[in-house]
Homo-oligomer: 178 residues x 2
DNA sequence: GGATATTAGTTTCATATGAAACTTGTTGCC
DNA sequence: GGCAACAAGTTTCATATGAAACTAATATCC
């Protein structure tokens, strides 16, 4: 910010010499543009919203609803809790998505005979059909996004995200499904 | 998954035999756990929420409020639009965060004399103090997260995220601040 | 066996969100 | 100048969200 002009002071301050991230006094001054959590958040939201727009327009599905469909399609019958675990959605969100999808007939619900608190959720034929139609659209967006990455980049990214996930597990509360 | 019972049907369908990802008819069956947009979303939310908890508890700040403080601290006086551009928040969110922070005296607002529609926002002394206190906490979380990555991993991640941002620019609507 | 703690899922309630309408001010065009 | 198009912010309104309270079923402990 002090850097508007061209002529250099004789004595430059640290800020001038080092990129902000490497200053010593206040070693890391929190610049959103270099702050990983922020960068992830912005990128992630842009992408998620782009995809959400697709299935919202065509099928009137919200993000939680689509996630429920995706995960039921992939992991067969699951309890609401199972869905929550696999999607990181809290149980309230899952409950509401279930209700909506039941009303629309896109999923079916039974009660687990062994534990009658538990529900057993699965896609209906129509739900499966929607999943079969939306999935390629979502995958296409991913594909186009990733097109700028080399094979090696993709492997790196995959590996790095796994490391970050594991790192988050160790000191952020709330572990993955397991 | 279908595997709860004991007696099996004589004729198993493809789903039974092959894991979904390897079916031939539908080559990429959208598995959330390998789907980049989803992985980014989960990781990003976990991290953001962990950080948000810190400043919410200590200072009663919401995410948009903290972002406003962070960006004003880093990029000096900005209009509401300027803030929106730099944070990817829409103008409604910015407007509300501004209102809240004004009430709490954490920012100050003036009118741009050159264009009286525009506001000029900057941190108050108190706002700057809060920023100075929260920033290290946020950075510490980032630091601990990134501790599992080698120097090279970090560079790779930085480079890859930039590529993905650029890729998103080319075919998702809504470009960065500029 | 039965009181107590726990878990699955739902409902309540207060708050957050953003699209669209609106207000105020500026720019462009004649 | 004056009027149409546009931009900055705010407000409205309908919907989304999640913490906490709640209901119902199961597990644990004595």
């Amino acid at each position: 910010m002090t850097r508007t002009g061209r002529s250099r002071n004789v004595v430059a301050d640290e800020t001038t010499i080092f990129p902000a991230r490497f200053r010593l006094d206040q070693p890391e001054p929190l610049d959103l543009e270099t702050f990983l959590p922020y960068r992830l958040s912005v990128l992630s939201n842009r992408i998620s919203n782009a995809i959400a727009r697709v299935y919202a327009k065509r099928f009137g599905l919200s993000i939680p609803e689509w996630r429920l469909i995706a995960v039921l399609g992939r992991f067969g019958p699951l309890s609401a809790n199972g869905v929550a675990g696999r999607t990181y959605m809290d149980k309230v969100r899952v409950s509401r998505a279930v209700q909506r999808l039941l009303e629309r007939g896109l999923i079916e619900r039974a009660t687990d005979a062994a534990d009658r608190r538990r529900s057993i959720l699965k896609l209906s034929t129509e739900g499966a059909a929607i999943r079969a139609e939306v999935a390629p659209l979502a995958l296409d967006i991913e594909k186009r996004l990733m097109a700028v990455l080399s094979r090696e980049d993709r492997d790196d990214l995959d590996r790095i995200l796994k490391l970050l996930d594991a790192s988050a597990d160790t000191f952020l509360e709330g572990k993955p499904p397991g």
